[in-house]
Symmetry: D2
Subunit: 188 residues, 4 copies
């Protein structure tokens, strides 16, 4: 997993998703070389880079040109990107151009989560996985609600990460803001 501090950052672009959360996302998404994955709202590229190392084909979508160029710089910095298509566009439009998806990670939806999830569900292969990372309270509720309505078994896990700063005088525990991962359950 690429450490958080190894990403080039742009103050106007959110991310990268904390390393601990990317670990969980990759465990749950379980990308393989035969998989096509999409990262909706790619931001700094944290998830895109991890998908690029593991999946066959990756689409990274963000409506912000700054996000797309930051993701591009990070791919280059880490020698990745040959299997990544960067799309600077609204997610709904961008998704309409993609045929089939094995993995969809949704980190930003620009207020159109319902439409995005409908479109992703349409294109999802058998055994495909959808994962939504939610920082806003409302996104957590909506993600659970929409996925239920679309017929999925839904899981939600909230991660609170506290990292110690090991100082001379002791170890200071510093919290990251909690993130919820809402995801479809393919076990039965």
């Amino acid at each position: 997993m690429i450490p958080d501090h190894e990403f080039i950052k742009n103050p106007s672009v959110p991310g990268p998703t904390a390393m601990e959360v990317r670990c969980l996302l990759m465990c749950l998404a379980d990308p393989g070389k035969g998989d096509t994955a999409v990262d909706v709202g790619c931001g700094t590229g944290g998830v895109t880079l991890e998908l690029s190392r593991r999946a066959g084909r990756v689409y990274a979508i963000d409506k912000s040109p700054d996000a797309i160029s930051t993701t591009e710089m990070n791919l280059k910095k880490h020698g990745l990107g040959d299997n990544v298509t960067l799309i600077c566009s609204d997610a709904v439009e961008a998704l309409s151009e993609i045929d089939a998806l094995d993995i969809a990670v949704i980190g930003g939806s620009g207020g159109r989560l319902g439409e995005i999830l409908e479109m992703v569900t349409d294109k999802l292969t058998d055994g495909g996985r959808i994962l939504i990372t939610a920082i806003l309270l409302e996104t957590r509720c909506e993600a659970v609600k929409y996925l239920k309505e679309l017929g999925f078994d839904v899981n939600i896990t909230e991660l609170s990460i506290t990292r110690g700063r090991v100082l001379e005088r002791g170890t200071m525990m510093v919290s990251k803001n909690p993130i919820a991962v809402v995801y479809t359950d393919n076990s039965d």
Copy 2:
């Protein structure tokens, strides 16, 4: 409980202790008009002000002159302080001047927690309460260890507080760093 933003702050002085933690401290310390209380490492004065409103007599100790003057300004701002003695000194020396204590809240120990707890225990009245707020991992372990060695039944509660910022686009959950409260248990 005085809201966090109602305190005058000094960038070189830690605090105030988050309102939610002060609530818990006051519930556990249960100060009454007959009680003498000490706030060791008073910092911004968050705990001192709450003790001043509830206890009979309060000693606020800090070795930092900035902390003492910040606490003094906050007492004045909130019309409190008549029952507060401010002591700018090392905690061990300051405590040696106090006769008897019903409540000791220890938020900073300058690396002398063991000596402070011994001294406080000596001066503690029957039914008296000791509470240590710990930000450092090591302080949590030491506080539990010292209080056990001094013969107390010990409790420790860690509070993780996440406050929502209610924004136009949704409610963003923002974590405060976790704080542990280590305290003596007087129930039997």
Copy 3:
């Protein structure tokens, strides 16, 4: 604050609300002898007992007869209850009988949170406070949404409480399930 283990429990009745959460609720609700308070969904009576000790008049409402009788037993056990009216009924109906409210704590809504909040808002005195404790994800979202729609400034604080069990071999940290407190903000 009455310790959790000092409550008589009934396996079919939820609660009591963890002591740390009751501390926060009382700090935020700030009940005084002139206040009329309601505890909607009183369950085991954790909040009702604390309100009874501090407010002038308390209405404890629950549609479950087991909850009402458990709350009654706990009031009796702690020598409280002279200022408490127990109402075994649907919350909306029960609230319609109350004239004016200074404090409303809502711990259970039976799926009718919107109606309850409308009714409570109608009866709320100037400077009155509404507090909702939410265990379900959806209740958090709904509480924020409804209070915003009713014109309040809204705060939400999630408390994660981890209590140590001080054992021979060390201190085992044990988490309580997180609770969110959604409340109206009367500061300006």
Copy 4:
């Protein structure tokens, strides 16, 4: 990652380590086919199984015969174990038989963490990684202290995992007890 519920459990054996924590451990340990790994205090086998799938050679040590047989059953259930040596013994003795280690995951130390870490450090290859999972408060402090004394750069991350139970009436958030992962930092 093998889901928690896919493990055979024995009431007298702790574990398995929560899936989210195993994700993080595998990300941090980064086992490869050339690596020799040890799981000290293997318990139910949660970490052993993940190491078995990724590393070259794995030693699983536990002084409890029940733990060893539970780990063995779980290896068999998941078609793993060809590269695993199970050792039912005190960790210090068991480690003395192992020549070189790339990865050490320590989930239980039977009160001998200092000796175990010294021994592991002696056998650690260049670039090797040590990870300690700590449930007890004291283990966190000791792990940080010992690793510092042994000359390592130390990291500590505490994970609080809250999983939703998606019920008819809403999503109930249920906390797992927090776990800290103390680990050596090989970045420079």
